[in-house]
């Protein structure tokens, strides 16, 4: 799919796959997000985290989601995919904690392609996204429907 020209809704096919880059997870990063958005002990303090159900200092699930969005966004930009908005996330599941010292990356599959209700200039693409750690274990997965610009503006 690597091409210098813009990829529009018409150019994307079900079954196509993308691999994102990598992100290293460290304690300052975990704490930085947690202090602002999720100040629970197991995202801030190593002792509390070890005593918790997670067993170690780990990133907030919302931080993992945000990092997933960063990885996927960068890949969509690299592939020149004409993303113009986000529609919905039918489901998202967290499977495993993401600990300090982990590295995450995402595998993206084009799972669905449909019209966007009431929109003439874009269509929906359904992305199945799986985030893995460096051991190949799935840490998070979701389905996300994004609005991709159409080459040919159609009728509503």
């Amino acid at each position: 799919m690597a091409t210098p020209s813009t990829l529009y809704w018409e150019d994307i096919d079900i079954g196509q796959e993308l691999e994102t880059g990598l992100l290293d997870i460290d304690a300052p990063g975990i704490r930085g997000f947690a202090e602002k958005f999720d100040p629970q002990p197991y995202h801030l303090d190593r002792d509390a985290a070890e005593a918790s159900l997670f067993g170690g200092l780990c990133a907030s699930g919302w931080h993992v989601s945000a990092m997933m969005m960063k990885l996927v966004s960068e890949e969509l930009i690299k592939e020149n995919i004409a993303l113009i908005g986000s529609k919905k996330v039918p489901w998202l599941e967290w499977y495993r904690p993401v600990f300090e010292g982990d590295t995450i990356s995402a595998h993206v599959t084009i799972a669905d392609k449909s019209a966007a209700d009431g929109e003439a200039d874009c269509g929906l693409i359904g992305f199945d996204i799986e985030v893995h750690n460096q051991k190949g274990k799935k840490v998070m997965a979701l389905s996300a429907y994004l609005m991709i610009q159409k080459k040919e503006v159609g009728h509503v």
């Binding site: 958005f37 002792d47 159900l53 989601s65 966004s73 113009i84 919905k88």
Partner: protein
């Protein structure tokens, strides 16, 4: 955080379906929208106020992931204030699944969202021997009373009966 005294947390069995809370309100500033956007959601409508004017949103908008992060902070702060929440991480556990996350209206700088939380179900599932699932519907209404965002989340709560 270890010197903050957390209040008593509740067992799975004590949390009633139908309970409704309002966590509070939050107003988004332009700079924080840009800061979050530059880190996590680098689309132009989240990072560049001028270029955002030429997009379908006609201005800088908050990402749903940013709204959810603010929801999380609102929930943690609320739980600390009202004796319902996390003690040491053992009693109330992690979120495990989200369903039907959708944003309905754009949220821009200066907009205020108010977050509500309703326990809608306790599915008949036991996770890793000792955790039950508390399912809640979470909604964010803007300053005009319009529903801006909604999602369901399953959060683990420790059961007294193992």
């Amino acid at each position: 955080m270890s010197d903050v005294s957390f209040l008593r947390s509740r067992w799975f069995e004590d949390i009633p379906v139908g309970e409704f809370h309002v966590f509070g309100s939050y107003t988004f500033s332009e700079q924080e929208i840009i800061d979050f956007g530059k880190l996590y959601t680098p689309q132009v409508y989240h990072t560049d106020p001028d270029a955002a004017l030429d997009t379908r949103y006609r201005g800088l908008v908050v990402s749903k992931w940013h709204i959810c992060a603010i929801w999380m902070r609102q929930m943690v702060d609320y739980m600390e204030r009202y004796a319902l929440g996390v003690e040491d991480g053992r009693r109330n556990g992690a979120g495990v699944r989200i369903e039907d996350l959708e944003q309905f209206v754009p949220v821009k700088s200066g907009h205020t969202l108010t977050f509500s939380h309703e326990i809608v179900e306790k599915p008949d599932k036991v996770i890793r021997d000792k955790w039950g699932i508390i399912r809640s519907r979470n909604e964010a209404f803007n300053h005009r009373g319009a529903l801006a965002l909604r999602f369901y989340i399953d959060i683990l709560a420790e059961r007294t009966q193992k």
